[in-house]
């Protein structure tokens, strides 16, 4: 059976999906707000940025620093983009989830 190139946890998967949902406007604030809206739970900036840092180390996202703005106290924002390898990994994870759902029904658990 083909193994994914990297293992990603549940929260990492959600962060990747949140980045994809924001398109070109994916940075800390928009990613965090998208996650909170989707999961209906409180997400702190600390947990988000540590996850983004891990994803970047795994080579699944890339980031670049934008322009500083006055509303941010003169600080720049860091934008994120999901790499192609991560998108295929997400598809694999979702396919695995579907297969497991099918097994659940067969086993009579679901």
């Amino acid at each position: 059976m083909k193994k994914p190139s990297n293992y990603i946890g549940e929260f990492e998967e959600l962060v990747l999906l949140a980045i994809l949902s924001q398109g070109d406007n994916a940075y800390g604030v928009t990613i965090r707000q998208a996650l909170e809206e989707a999961t209906d739970r409180s997400i702190t900036v600390g947990s988000l940025y540590t996850t983004l840092s891990r994803l970047e180390e795994k080579g699944l996202v890339q980031s670049w620093v934008g322009e500083p703005t006055a509303e941010r106290g003169g600080r720049a924002k860091r934008h994120y983009k999901v790499k192609g390898s991560a998108q295929s990994l997400l598809k694999e994870v979702q396919a695995a989830r579907q297969r497991l759902k099918g097994l659940e029904t067969v086993g009579g658990i679901g």
Partner: protein, 211 residues
């Protein structure tokens, strides 16, 4: 420009006005800073970073993305203004103790701005719109994050703080900010410790390979 930027005394040196004046309390300095923030958020921020945060002129200029000359100029003006405000506040406090039974003729308070000491405005008091997050919470992050990361993360917090402030009120925005910082401490600490642990482990492996 090759000339060295003169480093200024970090200490607010508030007791320098009169040699027998007592050192002002932290609360007095904090309240004066709050009033300064109503008029000039840049000067207030410089005072926070230099006086409370212990940052140098160079570091302050980097955080605020302004020149060192700008920091120094604003720092000197802010310092002078705060000295005067703290003395005025302390003398008002003493007067109110003496005249506590007298009816107050006016509840107004003359506020001045650093650049124009004769400029007073009651509208400034009425339309207080502080949009500065609680600096004591923010400073916790300075210990946990690298310089590169903290600018980005704190920028996010400031941006969202402004959103919450616009939608609700300062109290709710402050609570949101404290919750965000408190909730971020553990993940950031864990992340730092994991990196440190990985470095220690790598060091041990390298030492074994070499020896």
């Amino acid at each position: 420009m090759n000339e060295q930027i003169p480093t200024d005394d970090l200490d607010l040196d508030l007791k320098g006005l009169e040699s027998n004046e007592p050192v002002p309390s932290f609360l007095a300095v904090h309240e004066a800073l709050e009033r300064l923030a109503d008029f000039d958020s840049v000067k207030a921020r410089i005072v926070e970073l230099r006086f409370f945060g212990g940052l140098s002129t160079e570091e302050t200029a980097e955080v605020l993305n302004i020149s060192q000359e700008n920091v120094l100029r604003n720092w000197k003006l802010a310092r002078t203004w705060m000295r005067r405000e703290i003395l005025l506040a302390e003398s008002r406090a003493e007067d109110s103790l003496v005249r506590s039974k007298e009816p107050q003729a006016s509840s107004t308070r003359q506020m001045t701005s650093p650049e124009n000491p004769h400029d007073t405005s009651q509208e400034r008091l009425a339309n207080r719109a502080p949009h500065r997050p609680p600096f004591n919470a923010e400073y916790l992050l300075y210990f946990l994050l690298s310089k590169k990361d903290r600018k980005i993360l704190i920028g996010d917090l400031i941006e969202e703080y402004g959103d919450v402030l616009g939608r609700f009120n300062k109290r709710r925005a402050d609570i949101w900010f404290y919750k965000q910082v408190a909730g971020s401490l553990l993940p950031l600490l864990r992340h730092s410790l994991l990196r440190l642990g990985a470095l220690v482990w790598l060091g041990r492996v390298l030492r074994r390979l070499i020896s």
